[in-house]
């Protein structure tokens, strides 16, 4: 006893259901399609059937690869190349991000000492104590970036 529908019931099929029935190998459905759409439908039906088989084959391969990937994840040494690739990609993204958005350079703080009133020990003491203040608020240490002299004598006298 055939499980396929008879020609009469095929008349009520939508095109989608008809194609599905043909893909499943329903000879009655194929004959009905030829009767309904003419012989030009045959190559289309053949293509659909071939593609359907190709898709099935690809899906089987994909499932097989998925299983291998799961096995690879379980054995971490198989993941090493993937990890390296991910790290490289991360570095590339980070570098690009840094290059695109450079961090603003925070300004140094200038300290001025009247040279006629301070000696080197006093100046070093003050910077050291400022460095301590910086540490108290969570900083690491202060560094001397630059030192120079400002001549404040009037132009007329120099």
């Amino acid at each position: 006893m055939s499980t396929f529908p008879d020609t009469q019931s095929l008349e009520h099929y939508s095109d989608k259901d008809l194609i599905l029935a043909i893909k499943q190998g329903d000879k009655a459905a194929q004959d009905y399609a030829v009767k309904k759409y003419g012989h030009k439908i045959l190559p289309i039906l053949q293509t659909l059937t071939t593609r359907s088989r190709s898709l099935e084959s690809l899906l089987k391969e994909l499932f097989s690869l998925s299983r291998k990937l799961i096995t690879g994840i379980n054995n971490s040494h198989h993941l090493k190349p993937i990890t390296i690739l991910l790290k490289a990609a991360d570095i590339m993204i980070t570098t690009r991000k840094q290059n695109s958005y450079p961090a603003p350079v925070p300004a140094a703080i200038s300290l001025y000492f009247d040279a006629s009133q301070f000696d080197s020990t006093e100046i070093a003491d003050i910077i050291h104590l400022l460095s301590d203040t910086y540490r108290i608020i969570g900083g690491d240490a202060l560094v001397i970036k630059k030192m120079d002299y400002l001549d404040l004598s009037p132009v007329s006298r120099s």
Binding site: A107, L111, F118, T121, I127, L130, R135, G139, Y149
Partner: protein, 163 residues
């Protein structure tokens, strides 16, 4: 003290910043606030208006004038800067070593250092100038001497302007 002709006022300018740039970026504003707080506690309140108003009025201009004709460091000046650098490095090194040995006493040490900072610059005058993000601090011992420099500078500029 540095042997410098009183007739030719000179200021040592030292630029400081945090060791770690990222931390410095994060903490700079907080650091300025901490300095402000400390300086506020040591400023001579009796003369604070003079210190703030009169000095601030011309200091930025004076320093800009000095920056425009930065002097090439002479042998004497180089010696002072090398000494400051060496002494500061020594102090930082000593402190780091002391911290390693007495980590538990760090909190006490910090409190002592705050006291030292207050006492250390208690006899001095410190003035914060400059816009936000470009702060500069001026350290002085004799306010009168600095005001004289400012008056000379102002007078000299007026003469030049009139001339």
């Amino acid at each position: 003290m540095i042997d410098i002709d009183e007739e030719e006022p000179k200021f040592v300018r030292i630029e400081i910043e945090g060791l770690n740039a990222e931390k410095w970026y994060q903490l700079r504003t907080k650091f300025i606030r901490a300095i402000h707080k400390t300086l506020d506690t040591v400023i001579d309140h009796e003369h604070s208006s003079t210190l703030r108003d009169e000095a601030k009025k011309f200091t930025t201009e004076l320093l800009n004038y000095g920056k425009a004709k930065l002097q090439r460091a002479g042998l004497e000046n180089e010696e002072l800067m090398a000494q400051v650098d060496l002494l500061y490095s020594q102090k930082e090194k000593e402190l780091a070593e002391a911290r390693k040995l007495h980590a538990e006493a760090e909190a006490l040490e910090i409190r002592n250092n705050i006291r030292k900072l207050k006492l250390g610059i208690g006899g001095m005058k410190a003035l914060m100038i400059g816009e936000t993000g470009k702060e500069e601090i001026l350290f002085l011992k004799q306010m009168d001497h600095f005001l004289e420099i400012l008056r000379d500078f102002e007078g000299d500029n007026n003469v030049r302007l009139q001339g």
